[in-house]
């Protein structure tokens, strides 16, 4: 499969993730969308690393996965705290920052 195939797959996953982020009302769903977008990036990095025979992309990917895990842990913790306080995790109801 040529490089383009991987890139198209990554783009699809990214757009699906973005769609999830924009449309899901549940905060956990939004976090899942973000996870998809990050993994699309990972696919790109690995694909380029494979086709250009450069190991840097693989190392970057490892970093990204680690950071993603940490980010999700923090994100879910925030969601749980919000749920405890507000009794909801519907994104439409969380508008404390409205101007």
């Amino acid at each position: 499969m040529p490089l383009t195939g991987y890139l198209v797959l990554a783009a699809l996953v990214f757009v699906i993730g973005l769609f999830g982020v924009l449309t899901r009302r549940n905060a956990v769903g939004i976090l899942l969308g973000i996870e998809l977008m990050l993994n699309a990036v990972n696919i790109n990095l690995v694909a380029f690393s494979r086709f250009r025979a450069d190991v840097a992309g693989l190392i970057f990917t490892l970093f990204t996965i680690a950071i993603t895990v940490a980010e999700i842990a923090v994100g879910l913790a925030i969601v749980i705290v919000i749920f405890r306080v507000r009794r909801t995790i519907e994104a439409d109801h969380l508008d404390l920052l409205r101007g």
Binding site: L18, V21, L22, I30, A91, D92, L94, D95, L96, L97, R98, G99
Partner: protein, 611 residues
């Protein structure tokens, strides 16, 4: 080491300044009152000694020799831009002795006159006095316009401080402000004239200017305007019409202050300045003629106002204005020596008149001459001293006023200024009349009250006697060693006859009661009416102030309130409204922000593709 005249002149300046610094900076000394006064009086006595030594020391300098000793100031490329120093010639030295003498005597007199003042304010009074003496001496010794202007303004400041010495009295505070502003009006012209002259000639110093003027090498465009502007400074300072209105009000200060500042020294600064720079004024005959006319008119106008005034100090104030008119007329007629002679003699006997009036006011506890009377019997020495000064002011032989006034009249006649001459002759009649009106009302006639008054303090009495003796001595010296070269032979007789006529009229009106003053007033109704209201000049000034200044303020206030503030208010209201609209973008939903980011990235992509 023997000191030369310039060094002594510096010493004359340094002594009162040191006294001022000591009183101003050392607070316990100033607030101690009497010791502060002693410091000031001792410094002044030493300054008088130095001034006398300077006059003694001066060798008859060769004519055409620069009398100035200069030090450079304001260094600039190609020589100093201005210099400071001392100018020691006959006129300056004589003036220095006069200023130092009168200052000293007034300070001694004040020692008793202000004995009831609280010590801190007495110290303040003497601090002002020292500063005043320093400023006036500095003005007299100035070798250039710039230094003269600096001291000129210092003198104005001291005058303001001393008139407003009793600053808790509203009338004194107002008089001080009035004196300050009205003299400033003239000073505006003065400073503009100086700067224009400097721009045209490149120097402030008298010596090069005089040399060029005498050699006919001073070619300056608009010299007439420049000299007129410089003359304006003298109009304000020397209380010439129409800026004379501040001087009568300045009588709100303590009486010794009136004697010092508004009779003998400060108001003569204008006359002195015009006499000093006379070589420059000689180049502009129109300005000289104007000076003579204004001077003579001022003399006559002030004399008529003095005739109807009831306040003894104000009568003296108007007579000062009137005599300053004489001096200015002599300056304008091209006889600065006569002006200076009259300045000197007038300084002595007018100080005596004011200090005598201080004793009179002390005695009767009123300024109103119609509530006085019979003082001559009770206090013959005071009466005698006052009478000597009055005769001198009226111009009776052989007192100094007679000779200096004759010199002035001769000078004016010599310049063929016949109308000013007639005005001055009429003034000499009025002068004798109003001064003897005061004498007959206050010193002769019925004593209005029969309380036992304490004798005036020794210091005040002694100062008055000393000044009376000095007046007599000056008169006798002039009478004995006099040459009758100037003026026609009939002139002294005419001036004497008019003076005697004035005295006779005053005697007939206020002593013999042969003439009813009320009928005299009715006969001269229009003049009487105007003079009693000061020719509406005060009202004119107040009206001008109201119309011009308040009107302008109102316009400026409107512009500020509605135009400037309006623009600012519109701007801030617009900003508020715009913010109110823009805040709706902040919905608080994170997804909306993500939409924004995604849209932005998309736009960037499109832009990158197109670009």
């Amino acid at each position: 080491m023997r000191l030369g005249s310039p060094e002594l002149a510096l010493l004359v300046l340094a002594l009162p300044f040191a006294s001022f610094l000591a009183l101003a900076l050392i607070r316990p000394l100033r607030r101690s009152g009497r010791p502060a006064a002693a410091v000031s009086i001792l410094a002044m006595a030493a300054a008088l000694g130095a001034a006398a030594a300077m006059t003694w020391e001066a060798s008859p300098a060769a004519r055409g020799l620069n009398p100035a000793r200069l030090w450079s100031w304001l260094p600039a490329d190609g020589g100093p831009m201005a210099s400071v120093g001392v100018w020691v010639d006959g006129m300056a030295m004589q003036m220095c002795v006069l200023v130092a003498l009168i200052s000293l005597l007034v300070q001694i007199y004040s020692w008793s006159y202000l004995a009831d003042e609280p010590p801190p304010s007495l110290g303040r009074y003497y601090a002002y006095h020292s500063l005043f003496a320093f400023s006036m001496l500095g003005l007299v010794l100035s070798p250039g316009f710039l230094q003269m202007f600096v001291f000129w303004e210092l003198v104005g400041l001291c005058s303001y401080l001393l008139i407003g010495y009793w600053y808790d009295r509203p009338s004194a505070a107002r008089a001080a402000v009035k004196a300050f502003w009205i003299t400033k009006l003239g000073d505006l012209g003065f400073v503009a004239g100086i700067v224009m002259l400097w721009a045209a000639t490149g120097t402030f110093d008298f010596w090069p200017l005089f040399q060029a003027a005498q050699a006919g090498a001073l070619h300056v465009d608009g010299l007439t305007t420049i000299m007129f502007l410089i003359y304006l400074g003298a109009v304000g300072k020397s209380a010439q019409f129409p800026l004379h209105v501040w001087l009568p009000d300045a009588m709100e200060g303590p009486t010794p202050v009136s004697a010092l500042i508004h009779a003998a020294t400060m108001v003569t600064a204008g006359v002195y300045m015009v006499a000093r720079v006379h070589p420059l004024f000689e180049l502009v005959p129109p300005v000289l003629t104007l000076i003579a006319w204004v001077g003579a008119f001022t003399a006559l106008l002030a004399a008529t106002m003095a005739c109807v005034e009831r306040d003894i100090k104000r009568v003296l104030a108007y007579s000062t204005v009137s005599q300053l008119g004489y001096m200015m007329a002599a300056n304008g007629a091209g006889a600065p020596e006569a002006a200076f002679q009259h300045l000197t003699t007038h300084g002595v006997f007018k100080a005596l008149l004011f200090l005598g009036a201080g004793i009179v006011i002390h005695h009767f506890h009123t300024n109103d001459v119609f509530r006085m009377g019979g003082l001559f019997v009770q206090r013959p020495w005071v009466g005698g001293a006052f009478l000597v000064a009055t005769l001198a002011l009226a111009g009776v032989w052989p007192l100094p006023g007679f000779f200096s006034k004759e010199a002035v009249l001769a000078g004016v006649l010599d310049a063929r200024l016949s109308v000013p001459f007639l005005m001055l002759i009429a003034t000499s009649f009025l002068t004798a009349f109003y001064m003897f009106r005061v004498v007959f009302l206050a010193f002769f006639g019925q004593a209005r009250d029969h309380h036992e008054h304490p004798a005036p303090p020794v210091a005040m009495d002694a100062v008055c006697r000393g000044l009376a003796l000095l007046t007599l001595a000056l008169g006798l010296r002039a009478a004995l060693g006099r040459h009758h070269a100037e003026g026609p032979a009939w002139l002294p007789w005419v001036s004497l006859a008019w003076a005697l006529a004035g005295i006779t009229l005053a005697w007939a009106t206020y002593q013999a009661h042969a003439v009813d003053p009320a009928r005299l007033a009715t006969a001269l109704a229009p003049i009487d009416f105007l003079a009693r209201r000061r020719y509406f000049l005060d009202a004119l000034f107040a009206g001008t102030y109201r119309v011009l200044l308040l009107g302008l303020s109102r316009v400026v206030g409107w512009v500020d309130r509605y135009l400037v503030d309006g623009v600012l208010n519109a701007l801030s209201a617009g900003a508020l409204r715009a913010g109110d609209t823009a805040r709706r973008l902040q919905t608080g939903h994170p997804q909306d922000y993500v939409y924004g980011v995604a849209l932005g990235v998309l736009l960037l992509l499109v832009w990158a593709q197109l670009g």
